[in-house]
């Protein structure tokens, strides 16, 4: 794990959602929509990664997973480009440290252990298949999926949530969906590509927050 990676998850976790950057509020609220997260929840259940004995614990773990996942797709004020896979792995490490330190945490120990497993699973699955890229000469950020990863991301339910998020960022004018996925060009060979071209955020939105 690269120690220089700027993690957003810990910042969001420790602050009031009302104070989050508007881009974080938009993506996380859209992903949390029951219809958008349905397939994702099915995948987590399939992998036995969610508590089954308490609705409150279950919602808590799911909420934290989605928070970490989309923190990895939230633009930073620093304009550093996030990495969804690294953000998931960082979230797992943060909770492993909390578990080791035996300090208060927002969920039971068993739920926290499930959270760690889920974040490791997602961090592994997303690596190289879901990527953020600088765009518009650094004035914006795009998110896209790799062609070989499309089947896996769909199976996990990431694609459904991304589509919901994309619709929301367009509706709230926080960004837009490029008409031509080739508009990711110019950022190296690892650019996201595929039938779903992802979406863009405009960094100027930070000034509205």
């Amino acid at each position: 794990m690269d120690n220089s990676y700027e993690t957003m998850f810990a910042k969001l976790l420790s602050t009031n959602p009302d104070t989050w950057p508007i881009t974080a509020q938009i993506v996380i609220n859209a992903a949390l929509d029951p219809q958008a997260r349905k397939r994702f929840e099915q995948f987590l259940d399939y992998g036995h990664l969610l508590p089954t004995d308490s609705t409150i614990e279950r919602e808590g773990v799911l909420g934290h997973i989605i928070l970490a996942l989309f923190a990895g797709m939230t633009p930073r004020e620093s304009r550093n480009i996030p990495d969804p896979a690294k953000e998931c792995l960082a979230a797992a490490i943060i909770f492993e440290e909390i578990l080791r330190a035996e300090v208060d945490m927002p969920m039971s120990r068993t739920s926290a252990e499930l959270f760690v497993k889920a974040m490791n699973t997602l961090g592994t699955a997303l690596n190289g298949h879901l990527a953020c890229q600088p765009m518009m000469g650094g004035a914006g950020m795009g998110i896209g999926q790799s062609t070989p990863g499309l089947v896996l991301l769909k199976a996990i339910g990431i694609t459904d949530m991304l589509e919901a998020v994309a619709k929301e960022i367009v509706a709230t004018r926080a960004g837009f969906i490029p008409q031509d996925p080739s508009s990711y060009d110019g950022q190296g060979s690892s650019k996201p590509e595929g039938p779903f071209g992802g979406f863009k955020f405009n960094f100027t939105k930070f000034s509205d927050n």
């Binding site: 490791n120 070989p148 499309l150």
Partner: protein
């Protein structure tokens, strides 16, 4: 069903299989992997890329998928380059996406080509992030890429395949002890969980 992959590692192993020259430990690995492939098949079904009904035809398709996977893991010869398993699987998927010739169109199994293609891509995308192949003191080793990859390997059923291949190695080792001449060209080394090792001689 695979006929345009002659330059790939798995393509060369298909040729060896057709010539009856498949190395014994690879055949044994394939047998074990098919036997223990239930969880992988279940994951493919959950993912919506493989038929949920179990018939003789779908069993045949699944066996073919596992065959391509196993043939994408082992180098086809002692001096061959270590295959990039994920790229091998993508390459096999790509070959399946090409237009069918007349003979292929007449094959009633051809209706399963899209499922086979998507299954190979899905497995490839997981293998790419979960496993690494390397040479270690002259031995060829395939193992989990890092501890964080363990859960996805387990959920996808690939862990069962790796364990099955490890079991196959043990079977081959036992046979080697009984009859050294049978597998003289390659030697299987006993594996750990989620890793296996082969010494090519």
């Amino acid at each position: 069903m695979i006929n345009s992959t002659g330059f790939t590692n798995h393509g060369k192993l298909f040729t060896l299989r057709d010539q009856g020259k498949l190395p014994g430990f690879i055949g044994e690995s394939l047998k074990h992997a098919i036997e223990k492939g239930g969880k992988l098949k279940e994951f493919l079904q959950f993912s919506g890329v493989f038929p949920v009904v179990n018939t003789i035809e779908t069993d045949t398709v699944f066996d073919a998928i596992v065959e391509i996977l196993v043939f994408s893991i082992f180098p086809y010869a002692p001096d061959a380059k270590v295959p990039n398993t994920a790229q091998e699987l993508y390459s096999a998927a790509s070959a399946l996406g090409k237009p069918l010739d007349d003979d292929e169109k007449d094959n009633h199994m051809a209706v399963y080509l899209p499922e086979m293609r998507d299954s190979l891509i899905l497995i490839g995308s997981i293998v790419q992030n979960c496993y690494k192949a390397e040479t270690e003191n002259g031995d060829w080793v395939m193992s989990l890429a890092n501890p964080a990859a363990e859960e996805l390997s387990k959920i996808s059923g690939l862990e069962d395949i790796w364990i099955a291949i490890g079991d196959a190695m043990n079977v081959v080792l036992t046979r080697l002890q009984e009859n050294h001449s049978q597998y003289s060209e390659q030697q299987a080394i006993s594996p750990d969980e989620n890793a296996f090792k082969v010494r090519y001689q």
